[in-house]
């Protein structure tokens, strides 16, 4: 937000301002140093942020911590927090973002809301005006605690440096345990400057009012196992809980032993390798045909670490009514929230899944699987084949993803933005490893992709990061090209340009009589824009050029931008129209 002089009108404040470069005695730390020491003690290596008036003392201290903390200067605080999210999602660690007070803090709100609904562990640290100015409408003062209350797992305002070590210990503990989520700590400028006797940093491992993991009740595990063993047509649906619980192995062992077909939500994607024989595909509005239809045919539905989002369930009163529902979740408030569970198994799935695995019978369910295969064949015939190998001259998004798969062999981290390209990428991208699909699921934040990819690369530097973005989303956070340039972030930017805000256009076509209201979006010359930022790139629109262009992008030493012109009015199918049951999924 730029450097700004505080509008100081009274004497006390002047005195505090004069303390801006404190001379420290033995054992004395400034609040700002305590903040950075806390980050180091928590194992933080990378911080994303943007300086400004109220967070200047922390940035001043950071100057001396350059060897121990890597700070990535973003171009907008929203970019900073999405980068921290991408970092958290690719690394499994807590993402950290700095922002100043006022507009700096309010620019974090979208990312906090996104992290809240997608359970991403984050610690956001915001500067705040001097404590004695709170409530006076001081320059760049905003009530960030109350603004962010509904979109944080926990937040706290520090006005005294003595609180900093314990509050940050609490913040990290809350962010990463239980159902993870974003935490915001707002620190007034006087507390950042204040000198205090620093007694070291102690990690937090208990808050009496906070129970991150509910106690597992063996009898419910037993009842669940009994239902699974009796089932003729059991069906597993899984979400990000498997990834957040680091329970990919436990999950695989569970479904493999009981022979259970398993389908994923878009946040659960990559927890189970794409080519795993029990992986039957994607759930929900643009999910695969089989998983949607079979949801309403199975006799036991086993939900693991997912929350029955409306985009997954479609019409709730026609959702899996025939089935007994087993719901495994770490968050007790999720059980019975949208879908009534026959058996609710509360707990961390890393612990509950092995208990279940022990009790379930080894089975195959061959006939039941054949039903999924039949659906898959139909979907390939009606949708997939044409999408991946189009007979028309115009490129489809699906064939771009297919070509990408052939080059990456499913080893890349795929970050997506929001819209048609996101659905196509989730449907067709292949994954071998967990934590490889990074997308904004719950909030559907356009503009998430580019900054999240930057963070993802820092979270997993040894991996190839490809971000797939539409021509709408890229223009929302295109300023982060600057971060890629300055910090030399090696991300591969793949813009799928259909010259429309495609998902809204698709709905307008299907449900609003093709009244294309403000979905016709113009684009700049992306190759030139990228070039301006020192990012190499090219644009292709011919099938013959596609594969070699993708290869050039992946082989390029450093970041690269490839724009692919795809069909303007292509639609994503299958589709469960809003308000319809999952069994009413449309193939065209």
């Amino acid at each position: 937000m730029g450097t700004v002089e505080l509008l100081v009108k009274n004497e006390t404040a002047k005195k505090q301002v004069s303390l801006q470069v404190p001379k420290l005695g033995a054992g004395e730390y400034s609040g700002s140093q305590a903040v950075l020491e806390a980050l180091i003690a928590e194992g933080v290596e990378t911080v994303f942020g943007y300086p400004g008036g109220a967070i200047m003392p922390i940035y001043d201290a950071l100057y001396d911590y350059n060897d121990r903390l890597k700070h990535i200067l973003v171009r907008h605080e929203q970019g900073g927090i999405h980068a921290a999210q991408g970092f958290a999602r690719s690394s499994g660690k807590v993402g950290v973002v700095f922002a100043t007070s006022g507009p700096g803090a309010t620019n974090l709100v979208t990312g906090l809301a996104d992290a809240m609904i997608d359970s991403t562990p984050l610690v956001a640290i915001t500067g705040q005006v001097f404590a004695h100015l709170l409530g006076t409408d001081a320059f760049q003062e905003t009530d960030v605690i109350n603004i962010t209350t509904p979109v944080t797992k926990w937040n706290y305002q520090v006005t005294d440096a003595n609180e900093i070590p314990s509050v940050l210990a609490k913040a990290f503990y809350i962010a990463r345990t239980g159902r993870p989520g974003p935490v915001l700590v707002d620190i007034t400028k006087n507390a950042q400057i204040q000198k205090f006797d620093y007694e070291g940093y102690q990690k937090c491992n208990h808050i009496r009012s906070y129970r991150p993991k509910p106690i597992i009740r063996q009898e419910y595990v037993e009842e669940a196992a009994k239902l699974i063993n009796e089932a003729k047509k059991p069906f597993v649906i899984f979400g990000q809980g498997v990834i957040l619980g680091k329970a990919e192995k436990e999950f695989k062992e569970f479904i493999e032993k009981a022979g259970l077909p398993a389908a994923w939500t878009i946040l659960g994607l990559s927890a189970l390798p794409t080519d795993h024989p029990l992986n039957v595909g994607m759930l929900g509005m643009h999910g695969n045909y089989g998983p949607n239809v079979m949801t309403n045919e199975c006799d036991v539905l086993i939900a693991v670490g997912m929350r029955f989002d409306d985009r997954v369930t479609g019409r709730l009163d026609k959702y899996a009514k025939q089935a007994k529902v087993i719901h495994l979740d770490i968050d007790p408030s999720e059980i019975d929230k949208n879908v009534k569970a026959t058996i609710g198994v509360w707990g961390d799935c890393k612990e509950t899944l092995p208990l279940l695995t022990k009790l379930v019978d080894a089975k195959k369910h061959t006939e039941w699987f054949e039903k999924f295969s039949a659906c898959e064949q139909e979907e390939i015939k009606e949708v997939i084949h044409e999408e991946l190998n189009p007979s028309t001259a115009i490129l489809t998004m699906g064939e771009v993803i297919r070509n990408l798969n052939e080059l990456t062999n499913g080893d890349a981290i795929i970050v997506t933005d929001v819209g048609q390209h996101q659905m196509v990428a989730c449907r067709y991208a292949r994954f071998n490893e967990s934590k490889s699909n990074i997308t904004s699921g719950g909030l559907g934040t356009m503009g998430f992709g580019l900054p999240a990819a930057i963070g993802a690369k820092f979270g997993a530097p040894e991996r190839t990061v490809v971000v797939i973005i539409g021509d709408g989303g890229i223009q929302m956070t295109i300023q982060e090209f600057g971060t890629i340039m300055q910090s030399e972030v090696n991300v591969k930017i793949l813009i799928l340009n259909n010259q429309f805000l495609g998902m809204v256009r698709q709905w307008q076509q299907l449900f609003n009589d093709k009244r294309y209201s403000f979905v016709d979006i113009a684009s700049p010359d992306y190759v030139m824009v990228a070039k301006g930022y020192g990012i190499e790139g090219q644009k292709v629109s011919e099938r013959n050029d596609l594969k070699s262009a993708l290869k050039t992008m992946l082989d390029h030493d450093g970041s690269y931008m490839l724009e692919v012109m795809v069909g303007k009015e292509n639609n994503v199918f299958p589709m469960v129209p809003q308000g319809c049951s999952v069994s009413e999924v449309r193939l065209k």
Binding site: N146, T149, K153, Q157, S209, Y210, R217, Y220, P332, K337
Partner: protein, 195 residues
Amino acid sequence: MKKEFTITVYTENHIGLLVRIATIFSRRKINIESLNTSPSEAEGIHRFTIVINETEEVVRKLARQIEKQVEVLKAYYNTDEEIVWQELALYKVPTDEIAEKVQVERLLREHGARAVVIRKDYTIFETSGHRAETENLVQVLAPYGLIEFVRSARVAIIKNSKGFHEKLKEFDEAEPAEELVENEFLDKQGEVFSM
């Protein structure tokens, strides 16, 4: 079917928690009929008493959302039959009316009101009871020039509760105690009392 539920929440004393709890209701466009915060029987533990009109299913979900907040120790919800509750009301009436009219004195006595302040110009009465009772006295006093009326939020005691001392000990331990039954609502789905 919607009916009146009283939600009792045991919490840490933390700035901002009121907003966190209030937004759980406002976000779902649910009106809070009455809200009271006070100390509880356990030292340092706050007690919220919240009254809403909703179906039990909604109330159960709300209670879980409340309990999910980091600073909340426990949230219970109860029907009116399961609690003993009171609201306090104050009434300001002109003193000369009371002095002159024996009828008023009789009415106040009937309604169990007692004088808190008596001045030349006005007298303040206090009564406590259920909503209908305090409401009733407003109607009765209206013809006699009722100047001001105010009623407090509901405070309630759960008939079947053993208080929070024991629960608090369990919360204080670093590891959750064995006897703490987190899934207890599943055990007695019929007579759901606590979560």
